[in-house]
């Protein structure tokens, strides 16, 4: 290549060309794990009746008094999403229906952003950018779904819709949203924007009209066009993958290609919000969680550095049970059910087990290892939005 052909401008600005025409202002996908490859918590959860992060990382289920569900990381081996490069999806199946939701019941799938990751939209300025949301969706139900952008900093909302035309068929949807010259996203690590796909609701969320212009959030508008009603029958399911949010306005023919990341890069970005300290069991039935020291108060402190700087000081998310963990010191083990305290910052922390009469076979001042002893042993750090 002749030297004059090198794209010096993009090298300087960091813009990433995807082909000969597309120039994104963002070097990596704005949505983390949009291809649903990473599922650190589990790949299947049953009996879910309340809100939480289940299976695929970063993906939140808002279930508010409206049925019971199984949520899985679905493996794809056929269909339009699969032949376009997507092998995993987030899927929810209704297992106990709510045939007639009460007025305040609501059910949605949500992705949230930190405000400091959204400044490129220039929201709240005269140069505010439009938003384009694209995704693959499949359901046994045909009909219209509501999908909203909810600016939680300024309590502003804009609505959009998509139509599922064929049952049980992966379809690609592109939804455009206007720019908003009012209300800047706060430039910090807090939640500034939620994308919410409404799946069902009572009338408190459906008796208005879908407003395709930005304005003050009105709950009655958030599912005003939605006809999918996934909660109403145990035959119902809904699945999604390949989510991308782009700066600017695109159609299905001009949309930039999905930015596939390596699994390692994807996982590393997820770990800002959730990272596993230790999980499961090795062949010898022991998985190492941390080193510990035994202080003079019959307390074990297990100290560890985080692999990635976390969004904020995290919680410990632990699966406990009889003798799920063990101390090892002086060539002997002593089992316990789970740790009962934690403190830490965004780079490192220490969990502890206090209140016992002993810490394994160690004496004050000695050190040892903390290990998992059950296939379900699981300790993770959670700093989700």
């Amino acid at each position: 290549m002749a030297l004059s052909k090198i794209d010096v401008a993009n090298m300087v600005t960091g813009l990433v060309p995807n082909d000969n025409t597309i120039r994104r202002p963002n070097a990596t996908p704005l949505i983390i794990n949009g291809d649903m490859q990473v599922a650190q918590r589990s790949t299947s959860e049953t009996g879910k009746t309340s809100a939480g992060y289940y299976t695929c990382d970063r993906m939140h289920s808002n279930i508010d008094s409206i049925g019971t569900y199984t949520i899985i990381q679905e493996s794809l081996s056929s269909g339009n999403a699969y032949i376009n490069g997507f092998t995993k999806a987030w899927r929810i199946d209704t297992t106990t229906a709510d045939a007639s939701p009460a007025s305040g019941d609501n059910f949605s799938f949500i992705y949230s952003f930190e405000g400091q990751d959204l400044q490129l939209f220039k929201k709240g300025t005269a140069n505010a950018e439009k938003f384009t949301l694209a995704f693959w969706v499949k359901s046994n139900k045909t009909g219209t779904g509501n999908v909203n952008l909810f600016d939680t900093d300024n309590t502003r909302l804009i609505g959009g819709t998509y139509t599922i035309s064929s049952a049980d068929t992966w379809e690609h949807k592109v939804v455009n949203f206007a720019a908003d010259t009012t209300g800047a996203f706060t430039n910090d690590n807090g939640q500034s924007l939620k994308i919410e796909w409404f799946l069902d609701s009572g009338t408190n969320f459906s008796s208005g009209t879908t407003d395709t212009a930005w304005g003050s959030k009105q709950d009655v508008d958030r599912n005003a066009s939605g006809t999918l009603q996934i909660a109403r029958n145990t035959d119902n399911d809904w699945a999604i993958t390949g989510i991308q949010l782009e700066v600017g306005e695109y159609t299905s023919s001009t949309l930039p290609p999905f930015q596939h990341e390596s699994f390692a890069d994807n996982l590393a970005r997820c770990e800002r919000y959730y990272q596993v300290v230790g999980s499961g069991t090795r062949a010898d039935n022991l998985t190492y969680f941390s080193a510990y020291n035994h202080d003079g108060t019959s307390t074990m402190f297990g100290i560890f550095n985080f692999r990635t700087t976390m969004r904020t000081g995290p919680s410990i998310d632990q699966t406990s049970g009889t003798n799920y963990y063990t101390f090892k010191c002086n060539n002997a083990t002593d089992d316990f059910d789970g740790v009962n305290g934690f403190r830490g910052g965004i780079h490192a922390g220490e969990f502890y087990l206090s209140g016992g009469s002993s810490v394994g076979n160690s004496s004050a001042g000695e050190a040892g290892k903390v290990m998992g002893k059950n296939a379900s042993s699981h300790i993770a750090l959670a700093a989700e939005l």
Binding site: N189, D295, G313, S315, D317, N340, G341, S354
Partner: protein, 66 residues
């Protein structure tokens, strides 16, 4: 969100004057005997702590440390 959970403060093991070192949330046992525990820092940026504050605002009380 915290249906049938027990929620209580944990005392600092190495600073007895701090009886609110963190919050231990214990979920009900599953059929296999396992149960989820959430250990939540007193940190307004932590969304689990925000959820607990909402749970308190709804009329519930965090139990004191043992």
């Amino acid at each position: 969100m915290f249906k049938n959970c027990t929620i209580k403060y944990q005392k600092s093991p190495d600073n007895p004057s701090n009886d609110k070192d963190c919050i231990l949330v214990t979920y009900p046992k599953k059929d296999d005997g396992s149960y989820k525990t959430l250990i939540v820092p007193i940190n307004n940026e932590n969304t689990d702590y925000q959820d607990i504050l909402q749970w308190v605002a709804d009329g519930n009380t965090i139990a004191e440390a043992d």
